[in-house]
């Protein structure tokens, strides 16, 4: 299957598969890792996967490029969310002296 892609046109389902794989990896990172900064890295992976999917299909929309416009705003929002997320992580580190998500459980009874 991979050999047949050696033309000058990449079929669009390759990008869908790649974006799906990246999203699954990001999901695994958010569920599995205990460090809060690595969980934020997983969120960035998921956002990039969605962006790849959007831009791949906007290849067929040369007049409006709606997929690329959405991807631009997703990039801007990801930057804002990473900033706020890391500010919260720094605050948590100031208070709890750790960023392990399992140890931040003072709201449990």
């Amino acid at each position: 299957m991979l050999i047949s892609a050696f033309l000058t046109e990449i079929p669009v389902y390759y990008y869908v598969v790649i974006s799906g794989i990246l999203f699954a990896f990001g999901l695994y990172a958010v569920i599995t890792r205990r460090n809060a900064v690595v969980a934020l890295m997983g969120v960035e992976l998921m956002l990039n996967a969605a962006n790849i999917n959007l831009v791949a299909f906007s290849q067929f929309d040369k007049a409006l490029l709606s997929g690329q416009m959405t991807a631009i705003f997703v990039i801007a929002l990801a930057a804002a969310e990473a900033a706020i997320g890391l500010a919260i992580v720094l605050n948590v580190y100031d208070r709890f002296r750790t960023v392990n998500l399992d140890d931040i459980d003072t709201m449990k009874e």
Binding site: Y15, N48, F60, I72, A78
Partner: protein, 185 residues
Amino acid sequence: MSTYGFWFIVFSLVLVSSALAVITFRNIIYAAFCLLLTFFSVAALYVFMRADFLAVTQVIVYVGGILILLLFGVMLTNKITSFFKIKTDVVNVGWGSLAAGGMLFLIAFIVRTISFANLPWVKNAEKANNVLKDTDSTVHTIGIQLMTTNLLPLEIASILLTVALLGAAYIARREPTKGRKTLSK
């Protein structure tokens, strides 16, 4: 074997393997640098999709902004005594593998079932010559779209970025005398 397809395979393999490295390496610094490689590979993939403006935007914003921010976060939240000793833990591997495996199975099922090149709107776009070619530049269209169709999202995004800037600066500030150990004491 054409060079176009060969480089696409190379970049997509680098992307997938560095994303795998991000989620499995225990050392946070290694994970952050593999995330750098991931972001660059995504930018390369954008070039293959003929999204030239977006590729450069990806490098500037993600690599030059978000990754630096994540590295700051790593450095400020770990007691770095020796460079190679920052190890983080992995929990819930069962549930994580189940969720990720379910997602992968879903994507495989979708790609098997739907033939994406035969979707009606894709075929209409190919007929109406609405497909991005290698000689097209997207900057002109993005500029016009930002100022006409996507003007409202642009303004909202600018307000949101201002609010995020102020909010992050306020949340992460250090209060000097509130009972934390300061170096001046």
